[in-house]
Amino acid sequence: MNQARKFRISHFVIWSILAFFIIVYGVPLLWLLLAGTRTESSLISDTPLSFGSFATMKETFLNLIRYNSGQVMTWALNSVIYTVGSVTLTLLACIPAGYALAMAEFRGRKLILILTLVAMITPSQAIILPIFLEMTFLGLTNTYTGLILASSFFPFGVYLAYIYYTTSLPKSVIESARVDGCGQLQCFIHMGLPMAKPLLALVAFFSFVNNWNNYFLAFILISDDSKQNLPVGLTTLISASGALNAQEAASNLPVGQPEAIQAAILVVLPIILVFLVSQKHVRSGLNAGAEKG
């Protein structure tokens, strides 16, 4: 009986801690989504987690769209272009590279692998200024091509592909296929590619999140307002309208806190939706990424 009570107490303690953190992690996002339906005065005077109305949500959204005659939609479209371009290039570059590193023997293999890992672990911010200098030199700043190319370098994707092929395609299978006269390239096309579906999903997800959220690189490489992506656009919108700044908020733009909130939702929502759809892949990918730890 004593033990049962002890168990109940420890269960209670564990769940209070877990629940406390569910609130800490969950409330900010919940608040953001709810706040998108509320008016400026409701944000200030009503309880924080109340729901406004769909009519308000629509009106706010129209205000947001009207900002600079539809600039938000331009940014959204740019984000789509950048993301689709980079994810495609990332997949084209990472899958064959991971396959080659896992399956082939050649000189420089270990060096390439180690360089890839160093690039993966070293945070990319440190290298963004040098990339900017290089892109200026090549005349690729302020271009779609420049940002798409720069954000297609995704060593984590190569690492994922490398792990995937090493663990799920036995080298003996490839070797026996080779004895049967199947060349390395044919092996990749006939065996490596057909089994790559879960891998494609995994690399695509992480690359999508990275690119959709891309702020720093876009901020540095793109200075033209009309070529910005959503994350940079969001900050342009907020600093131009003073939506978050009580002293400068007297601007006559109909862009206030509710519009800023909806713009933030526009950045966040696609990621959440994609995450909810592909949760399982994401988890397996994260585990693969840390398995060696």
């Binding site: 992690y25 900010p28 200098l133 990749f188 959220n213 969001l234 907020i238 840390a290």
Partner: protein, 303 residues
């Protein structure tokens, strides 16, 4: 004759190996081009540039480095970043370990649902996080207003100065990154052989002892990995302090972090030589960390 055919066979084998190597390079080439363009070349370029006066384009040796190291803003920036990294890493190690161990006591299904909730904030990154936080820090609209009331913080200014940038950025980092690592540690915990846990249970270990004496030592490597990557990322903080200025001029801190200082030199003063020197200096530590990690854990070897 046999010797002849043997050497012929060897030659054919070598030829084939060369052909296979060529195919491998071909498969690698798109990625190698990208790596050359966006990792190797920029670093070399910045390295070269850091020895030049980029305004008049004259070689001037270590002058850029000397100027950076004498900049009065460098020491405070390093101090800020180190404080932030220390607080953030401690939060990550304590918080992620605790939550992972607690979740491991629950059924797999419950744990999976809770993990997904914890992971969710990790999906938002970049500017949207900072914007969200600027709302969360404003007592007028924040769902955490009761906390701020408790401390007597009445506006965003007092919340930010009350909490301090270090803690705010560390909290941002924790909320955004801990969920992913909780998933990773969950995976590591479920990889512990069942018979080990069973044996401990039979020997009379209670849940607390199981967690601290059996599970914790077995996941300590993954925790170290998390701490190290967190340090590497934290040293480069830029976006968070940079975007604090969205809330108004009084929050503008253009030289809070070292990366910001490099940006400041490059874009406000147009001095790319000094900016390149800062970039090179701030790459040294992360690269050493990365190499140590790779060789210590034999990251590249997979069973």
């Amino acid at each position: 004759m046999t010797q002849h055919s043997a050497s012929q066979r060897q030659q054919r084998k070598r030829q084939q190996a060369r052909k296979q190597a060529l195919v491998a390079y071909a498969l690698l080439s798109p990625f190698l081009c990208l790596m050359l363009m966006f990792a190797i070349f920029p670093v070399l370029y910045a390295f070269g540039l850091s020895f030049f006066d980029t305004i008049d384009y004259v070689f001037w040796g270590l002058t850029n480095y000397r100027e950076v190291l004498n900049d009065y803003r460098l020491v405070p920036a390093i101090y800020n970043v180190l404080q932030y990294v220390l607080v953030w890493v401690s939060m990550m190690v304590v918080g992620v370990t605790m939550l992972s161990l607690l979740l491991d006591t629950q059924s797999e299904r419950t744990a999976a649902i809770v993990r997904s909730i914890y992971f969710m904030p990790g999906a938002i990154a970049s500017s949207a996080v900072v914007v969200l936080w600027l709302f969360l820090l404003d007592p007028l609209v924040s769902p955490f207003d009761f906390v701020y009331q408790f401390f007597g913080w009445e506006n965003r200014q007092s919340t930010i100065s009350g909490l301090g940038e270090v803690w705010i950025f560390a909290l941002m980092g924790f909320l955004g990154n801990s969920g992913g690592w909780i998933v990773v540690l969950g995976g590591a915990l479920s990889g512990i052989p069942r018979d080990v846990l069973e044996a401990a249970r039979i020997d009379g270990a209670n849940p607390w002892q199981m967690a601290t004496r059996i599970k914790l030592p077995m996941i300590s490597k993954t925790i170290t990995l998390m701490a190290i990557t967190t340090i590497a990322v934290g040293l480069q903080i830029f976006v968070e302090p940079q975007l604090l200025s969205l809330a108004g001029g009084q929050f503008d801190k253009p030289d809070w972090s070292v990366t910001q200082l490099a940006y400041f030199y490059a874009f406000r003063w147009g001095d790319f030589g000094i900016a390149a020197a800062i970039s090179i200096l701030s790459l040294i530590l992360p690269v050493i960390i990365a190499l140590t990690l790779i060789f210590a854990t034999r990251f590249y070897k997979i069973k």
